[in-house]
Symmetry: C3
Subunit: 248 residues, 3 copies
């Protein structure tokens, strides 16, 4: 049995969006210190790791740790009904997951079936420490991906000692976009060793889509390795891995 | 011969929207005291009854009562061209229905064919007095239907002595939404006998879609009977009936 | 070799939109005094003639006149990435057309292939001087075409000594819209001889779509002849010809 209260229903919707953008179902691990979830997208090329500490909630009671499998795409439909000035109570009863939205003079209760979610295959990839880490403005990165998308479904990220270069190529033409380490969109660059790796644009877009306006995203790159992407939504922390695109 | 003037063309467009959301064609009865129309939607599960008194018009002249059959979906296309500060003159010439939009230095005249509309089957259903009547805010009811739609194509309305409960159910999950009689969206509840009836969400959405922002809608419920829905758009009065959904 | 700088990347995007709305590819003639392009749309019923003087650019260097064939639909994809406070440098290297967007601390370079564009067939139609010229507000003309489109895919323009009449007809009904020469949307009418000609609405919409808000469009009409449409986007001048619709 658990009973968890979130004061701002729209905030919780944003958190779950960050998961729903990548996966259709997942296993929420509800533990003493907070809630976490790891899941691989159906195509197997990306992974999300979500965690939020108990302090993000105004009520956080559970008798023992529990794992709750949910259909995330159904969960997000329900959270999309969030209104201003509603809080959420989540609890479990039998094999149902209960979400109650409570406003001043009305409330609505949703019950979702708890489903079996296989998680044996879900573990964070054994990724060595990235050799290039760029801290970039969320809004700037969204524009960069739009630029690349104007040409191609793939985008390359290249780091040099003092610049972050984005490139793309297709029948339409070629793009090269250079951001010096003093560019407005770059907060910090830690380059141990330059890297150049190519990724699927659509997955990158889905991964960063839930990052809040004005927030920062960290991109960890190492040649031939998955990119490691981090950002926060309030107290919630999101880490994603996306496999590089190998030209065939 | 009739000649009718409406000072605000956009207002008239809103009135006809309330009909067009349900039916494709209809017979406007233009009488001394005003205009009325009754029509059943093509699927036969809902009905609209529209009436507007002559005082809503700045000019209202007719020599004798007349019925004008129109293709409502074509009429709404034409009314959608309404601009700010235009008035409308409607009249009949031969077998054409004339709509003239008049602005300060320009005017445009549309002629629509008058069509045959069979109305022998259109009569208000012999509905007993509803036993539960809820006066609810239009905007709140629109949100309620969105909530239900997140789960299901059907929604149930249930009344108790002091609450209005909305419920829905599907493979996705279950919804129960309770509004006490002091809820912000409830203006008044007259419950002679509690009721619980289920309806098609899409039809409800279409029926209430034209209700003005900030207006009130009355819902008349009786178990196993069609719901009776009333609202006003300025002086115009809309009454709808929608058959209950019978689970098969 | 040429190198051309535009201070406002979004302005350049608007200019190219006026071409892209009609044609998919075209030959830009880059001469001492400015850039021009003439192209016929794939269906052969309309033509665009674009010209912009060198003074519109903050840098305009070329060693000798050159013609550059480009895929306009790809060019517009790239220009759509324009951001606030960016300037554009355009130049050629080898058989590539280079577009560089430069912001304060970042830049991105696109390279587009230069393509072969056949232009032997492109010459301005041998149109006699129009006998009716109407100078009309861009925004008003856009609404007129929307009115006509509510009924039909064709629209007629008719001029009399002191009015500009728009008409349309279909199964839905008939439209007649009269604008006196003192109407708000009419700036000036020069009527040597009244005309009445019918055109495809969709082509007219595409032709005038890029005209700036608040600008004026000149319509040159002569019976049985193509319409000649002119407007300016800043220093750039657009002339279009559209063949009349002949009822079959």
């Amino acid at each position: 049995m658990f009973e968890i209260k979130i004061d701002d229903s729209k905030y919780w919707k944003n958190c779950i969006d960050a998961i729903a953008n990548i996966v259709d179902e997942g296993l929420f691990n509800i533990a003493k210190d907070g809630i976490s979830l790891k899941a691989i997208d159906p195509s197997g090329i990306s992974m999300v790791s979500f965690s939020i500490p108990n302090k993000a909630f105004s009520k956080y009671e559970l008798d023992k740790p529990i794992s709750i499998g949910l259909d995330i795409s159904n969960l997000i439909k329900i959270l999309s009904t969030s209104r201003q000035n509603e809080y959420i109570i989540m609890k479990n009863t039998g094999n149902k997951f209960n979400i109650e939205f409570v406003g001043e003079h009305s409330s609505r209760r949703y019950k979702l079936p708890i489903i079996d979610v296989k998680t044996e295959d879900v573990k964070e990839p054994n990724v060595p420490v990235p050799e290039s880490v760029i801290h970039v403005k969320s809004d700037g990165l969204k524009e960069i991906l739009k630029d690349a998308n104007s040409l191609s479904t793939y985008v390359g990220f290249k780091t040099t000692k003092d610049s972050f270069v984005v490139f793309a190529k297709s029948d339409i033409g070629e793009l090269e976009e250079e951001h010096m380490n003093d560019a407005e969109i770059i907060k910090k660059m830690d380059i141990t060793k330059p890297a150049s790796v190519t990724f699927n644009v659509e997955y990158l877009v889905r991964i960063i889509n839930a990052s809040p306006q004005g927030s920062f995203i960290s991109l960890g790159l190492k040649i031939d390795d998955p990119i490691k992407i981090n950002y926060k939504i309030g107290d919630a922390e999101l880490t994603y891995y996306l496999a590089p695109y190998i030209e065939s």
